[in-house]
Symmetry: C2
Subunit: 250 residues, 2 copies
DNA sequence: CGGAGTTTTGACTGGAATCAACTGCGGTGG
DNA sequence: CCACCGCAGTTGATTCCAGTCAAAACTCCG
């Protein structure tokens, strides 16, 4: 994806290792056969010995944790191209299940480590991936910590809309393959609140249903305004700093 | 921008660089002079150009995001030994302020990248750090998504108690240098709810105050039971998997 | 057509937020 | 030394948003 350095590189050192030098993380997985998961099937469970790292090549996966009395928290939905299983622990600290039919490829942690050590080009890619994941986790903390039910649902619709269109721009339609329960467990709400909130958005003409698991975004501007990210500092530059200091003086 | 081409040569020509090989991340920072921050002083702000990575050598820092209308979410407290500023973005996506007087060292992102590329020993350390951070973020999502006010406060007390004693075992006393407002913004509660919850814990004899910003843990077992992590799957192994499948069948 | 699972809708409850008053403490200066 | 101020924290009264409990409606199947 980035970097054209490998051309120069391979000219000097193709023989340094027996393994072929990789230039993208995708290539690492591309030689492995794909495995299929049915809807609802688990890829691994919280507590399993963590021996593999997976790349999703098709479908949607949910990642979740469960605490004592059965409360479930979905910490993320993963789409084609995402990786899962990255961790230094020797057991997985969360579970992964298929939301839709899923195809994945797996490599062992050892092979993954070796590939990284052998390819300087892979490392920044992994670093970038982990940073993105961290940023997403922080956005989710903001959502769970301070956003209203309506803001949460709107944020979610926008997130999935972006995901579906390659993170570039927001499309006019959103597919929501997951159940209302999944959404609730991701947004820190109940299934009833999610349902009511969606109904309200439909009634107000912000979105319009297209079956139960798809919506058209009728008023993208309105949706954006309702998601609670305000005049988001994300692209406001210097001015943002001023404002922020005014709001939180010390 | 993040060309890594030069490292390709280093396999053949380790002398190509003047820099000494480092074996721990600490060493990378150890040559740089320390900077001091007063209480409440900012290290950097959300939106600033991200040019440095910092290591905290003393004190406590708060990391937070602010959304439009002034809502603040503290995504973490950092202690001596922690690093901050890791990101691939060219601007910081959160702000960092001193909770107590703080001493930090900084290195440029470029130096940081170079050191990583030159030292195979550093990379797993960074990877481990990022994985831990990710795991902490997920635990925080669980807290914010599904825990009651009391569970949140108890979890927080246990977290800080662990932090203070080098992550090994929980001490009998907890120092809370941050204000109630900071705690509230970290736990997704209001200042009043934090205060009331602490009062209740004191009344019930679970903890006992030691000034306003320190507590003794009178009943560690009780505190652990109240934190909401239940018969935590974290150390339950195989049995946990069974139970989980029973609770969340498909 | 029927039945099970999912989603929606309705009535009511409750836990944390909000609004407001008060307390305690540390610093400052008369 | 202590009266005063300002701030952080506590406590109390009330509100409200989302949760809970319950039932109906819709879908997807066989």
């Amino acid at each position: 994806m980035l970097s054209t350095a490998h051309t120069a590189h391979s000219a000097f050192a193709p023989m340094a290792t027996m393994k072929p030098q990789l230039t993208t993380l995708d290539e690492l997985f591309s030689t492995v056969p794909r495995e299929s998961l049915d809807i609802g099937e688990g890829l691994f469970w919280q507590g399993d010995r963590a021996q593999h790292i997976f790349e999703i090549s098709e479908g949607v996966l949910r990642i979740f944790k469960i605490i004592g009395d059965g409360r479930r928290v979905i910490t993320g939905f993963l789409y084609a191209g995402d990786m899962v299983g990255l961790s230094l622990k020797d057991v997985y600290i969360y579970s992964a299940e298929a939301v839709t039919p899923v195809k994945v490829r797996r490599v062992t942690k050892k092979n993954f480590r070796d590939a990284l050590e052998n390819s300087p080009e892979l490392r920044p890619q992994l670093f970038a991936l982990m940073c993105d994941e961290m940023a997403a986790a922080q956005d989710q903390m903001v959502l769970l910590s301070r956003k209203s039910a309506e803001e949460r649902v709107c944020s979610f619709l926008l997130l999935i809309a972006k995901r579906m269109h390659g993170d570039q721009q927001i499309g006019r339609s959103v597919q929501l393959p997951m159940s209302r329960q999944d959404m609730a467990d991701y947004l820190g709400l109940t299934i009833e609140t999610v349902s009511r909130t969606i109904t309200k958005l439909v009634t107000r003409g912000v979105i319009s249903p297209n079956g139960r698991h798809a919506f058209d975004i009728a008023k993208p501007g309105k949706l954006l305004a309702l998601c609670g990210d305000g005049d988001s500092y994300e692209d406001a530059g210097e001015r943002a700093v001023k404002t922020r200091q005014a709001v939180w003086p010390h």
